[in-house]
């Protein structure tokens, strides 16, 4: 095991020493701050149908732990997945493959380094949570155990599970990132679907993978007993309320029983077992060349052919015709996006696209279109990072007016792709005389493109955008009107949101150009 430590350490340092991680830290601090809203805020993070707890140590500790579990389980997967891919891309994997490290040893070190990354972020949320207790202090005494135990017993096992799932996904689904995301999306939905179940038996505790249900049941018991209610639903997450008043109650926290603790140990063991099983299927960086026979023959012919060389004559080259338009860039950007990912995904895209023509417009607009756009995440997320990933940036940055030509082309190409995918919905909105809706689809599509462009330029990585897009899509699927960036769900300040998105788009655009301008001259 001694040799695993340096591997885990190196992997952790490599991942944590990046702008993307710094920004993740900043986002974590902001998010953890928002986990405990001030009493007058128009949103809540944990409530029960008109009831919420007073800000004592147990409530603040558990709310921050619950929110950390929810948010980090959702986003953490995207944050940590790709550790093996990085070793493939950098070809460090080839060196690793020649060392005595076992497949399980390697995967276990990746699991642990994934976990360390999530642990760092959870630790930060934990500290901010304590800080928030004192900031929002309402005179209740501070008990460190009220913060420590929820994090130890709920957040950390959940993070370990997510770390392991990322490894399993990478082993079995390799570079099929969309499939990885989709399967996790569904799995996360399944894990969260039962958290409000009222059944109370040992099996329910054991099968509660994220450990959220135990805390929910404790809160429900408290409210139902104290107020003689029969409420089944606990609402967790950012929920906007307008002028709603809540009855408060004093909740003293969860009494963590042995069954719960054993169930956490079981999930940790299950994670290790899954990673162990995966190690039998791990490629160990030995990729079979899946080349078709004809292609292989063509390649062999090329390598075997003795090509006559007549010499290079500069004077015979055709004259240069200047062309400074951006159309060739748009064409190439579209080509790169279309060729990204496998053909089956295009079949799925076409299926969904056709479906948006025939299903009821409300359903197509509210759910199918956001799903269809999210399916493009891996195409869009690389818009401004692929030059560096593929080390083509030396050419692009040294080209003629790169800022005025390359960047607009990337934005236009991605926007065109999304608009084409949204065309059936746009056409149907027009036919339904919903001009605002149509404009908002265009506005929202541009928001997605510019988020990718700006975050890619800023962090040099596609991860932050992918996490954000995933979280946004997840919230959209929860049916929260204010979060529907395409404007499918009507609410009070619909027009206001449109203007806000438009302003965000303008800011993202200006910021992207400014930062890229600096980058092109400072390699």
């Amino acid at each position: 095991m001694n040799y695993l430590y340096p591997i885990i350490k190196a992997d952790y340092l490599q991942r944590s020493r990046s702008y993307a991680f710094l920004i993740t830290i900043a986002v974590t601090i902001y998010a953890a701050w928002s986990f405990v809203p001030p009493p007058e805020a128009n949103y809540t993070t944990l409530t029960m149908f008109g009831y919420k707890g007073v800000y004592n140590s147990a409530w603040v500790g558990n709310v921050t732990a619950l929110m950390s579990t929810l948010v980090l389980s959702l986003c953490g997967f995207f944050l940590v997945i790709g550790g093996i891919k990085k070793d493939v891309d950098t070809e460090v994997g080839l060196i690793i493959a020649t060392t005595p490290i076992s497949n399980f040893g390697y995967l276990f070190s990746k699991l642990f380094s994934n976990f360390l990354i999530l642990l760092t972020i959870s630790g930060l949320a934990f500290l901010v949570g304590i800080l928030m207790f004192f900031v929002r202090s309402s005179g209740y005494p501070f008990h460190i155990g009220d913060f420590l135990f929820p994090y130890l017993f709920m957040v950390l096992p959940a993070m370990f599970l997510v770390s392991g799932l990322a490894i399993v996904a990478e082993v079995f689904l390799g570079r099929k990132s969309i499939l990885q995301y989709l399967i996790f999306f569904v799995l996360f939905g399944v894990l969260m679907s039962n958290v409000n179940s009222n059944t109370k038996n040992s099996m329910v505790t054991v099968t509660d993978a994220l450990g959220i249900r135990t805390v929910f049941n404790s809160v429900k018991d408290k409210v139902n007993t104290e107020f003689n209610e029969n409420i089944n639903n606990v609402s967790l997450g950012y929920v906007i309320h307008k002028n709603r008043t809540f009855k408060t109650f004093v909740w003293e926290g969860v009494s963590w029983d042995w069954l719960f603790l054993l169930s956490r140990a079981l999930w940790i063991s299950l994670t290790v077992a899954l990673v162990y099983l995966s190690s039998f299927f791990f490629h160990r960086f030995d990729f079979k060349q899946a080349v078709k026979k004809e292609k292989k023959k063509a390649q062999e012919d090329f390598f075997n052919a003795a090509v006559p060389y007549s010499g290079f004559q500069k004077s015979a080259l055709p004259a240069i015709i200047p062309a400074y338009g951006i159309f060739p860039f748009i064409k190439t950007e579209l080509m790169l996006m279309v060729r990204k990912d496998s053909k089956w995904l295009w079949a799925l895209n076409i299926g969904l696209w056709v479906a948006t023509l025939f299903v009821p417009l409300t359903f197509a607009y509210s759910f199918l279109l956001p799903a269809l756009l999210f399916l493009q995440v891996s195409r869009i997320s690389e818009l401004t990072t692929k030059e560096k990933t593929n080390r083509v940036h030396y050419f692009t940055y040294a080209s003629y007016k790169p800022l005025q030509r390359m960047l607009p082309a990337q934005i236009i190409a991605a926007f065109c792709l999304l608009v084409v995918l949204a065309l059936p919905v746009i056409a149907r909105l027009l036919m339904a005389s919903n001009l605002m809706g149509m404009l908002q689809v265009l506005n929202g599509s541009m928001l997605i493109v510019l988020l990718s462009v700006c975050l890619g330029i800023l962090t040099g990585s596609k991860k932050l955008f992918e996490i954000l897009f995933f979280a946004l899509t997840y919230i959209v699927f929860q049916g929260i009107p204010e979060a529907h960036y395409l404007g499918a769900l009507a609410f009070e300040n619909y027009a206001g949101m449109m203007v806000i998105i438009l302003m965000i788009n303008a800011l993202l655009l200006i910021f992207s150009f400014a930062v890229r301008n600096y980058q092109t001259r400072n390699l």
């Binding site: 090329f302 015709i321 001259r521 390699l523």
Partner: protein
């Protein structure tokens, strides 16, 4: 055409300096850049290619400041970086068309130009295959082809012969000779023989400064009558190395044949004076 580099300094941070008050003037022809790792060759090439800004100093191309107006040189620049990459999903045609667009080259003749360049770097047969399936040498040749897309007047090659087999290196040299008639070509390499056979002039760099620039024969003159060969016992080797700059060794049983540069007047017993080469001069200048 004249490229003037004036007092160029590039500081990455307080400790790390890439270039230090570097000045040089170039005209048409091939300039070979030699220097050990960290000498500042790539930094210099990046600054001339406008993808990095100097901390101080400037570069003039025909009197125009290209640090302030980078687009002046970009239209006529061909640059091959040391560790460039490609888009693996594109084939050679598509990739070169893309780079041509970056360089502002288009029109009806572009396809023919790409055909001829691909032929020039011996990639015609593989032109329609995804570049992701290419070997390292083939990718390097695509890199060389892209430099010539815009009929460049300034060509910058950072380690261009890495990954090329001997036959391809010969082709590359022919290609450079063809281009050198009306362009400034700057070429860095660790393979001194490549520089010796291609370059009209050689510039030797060390720790961010220029320690010499002249035609190869003049540089070699600096160590004339200082290069010797001798055979000594293996046991005497450490003491010998402490006294002289040993260029090359080859073991012959319990003896070692040495090629060395001596700064002393007296000649070691059994040593014979041999004609000096550029590699000898380079090692002498960079290690002293």
């Amino acid at each position: 055409m004249i490229l003037e580099i004036k007092n160029l300094t590039k500081k990455y941070n307080k400790q790390k300096t890439g270039l230090s008050n570097f000045s040089m003037t170039m005209e048409k022809g091939v300039l070979g850049l030699l220097g050990p790792n960290g000498a500042g060759k790539s930094t210099l090439m990046k600054i001339i290619s406008t993808i990095s800004k100097p901390t101080h100093g400037t570069i003039f191309l025909n009197g125009e400041d290209i640090v302030k107006n980078p687009d002046t040189i970009r239209k006529i620049l061909g640059y091959l970086p040391q560790d460039f990459g490609v888009y693996p999903n594109l084939n050679a045609y598509e990739f070169l068309e893309y780079i041509a667009a970056m360089k502002g080259v288009g029109g009806s003749g572009l396809r023919k130009r790409i055909d001829m360049l691909l032929d020039g770097v011996n990639l015609t047969a593989a032109a329609k295959q995804p570049i992701g399936s290419y070997s390292g040498g083939m990718k390097q040749r695509i890199g060389i082809a892209q430099t010539l897309l815009n009929d460049p007047k300034i060509l910058i090659f950072d380690e261009p012969t890495v990954g090329l087999d001997p036959e391809e290196r010969v082709r590359f040299r022919q290609l450079i000779s063809e281009m050198a008639s009306d362009a400034i070509i700057i070429l860095s390499s660790h393979i001194v023989s490549d520089i010796e056979s291609i370059a009209d002039e050689v510039a030797i760099m060390k720790t961010g400064t220029l320690i010499g620039k002249a035609i190869p024969s003049e540089i070699i003159k600096r160590i004339e009558n200082k290069v010797f060969e001798t055979v000594i016992s293996n046991a005497d080797l450490p003491a010998f190395k402490a006294k002289h700059l040993v260029i090359d060794t080859s073991r012959q049983g319990d003896k070692t044949q040495l090629r060395y540069i001596s700064g002393f007047q007296e000649i070691e017993a059994g040593a014979r004076n041999v004609p000096a080469g550029l590699e000898d001069a380079y090692l002498f200048l960079t290690q002293n």
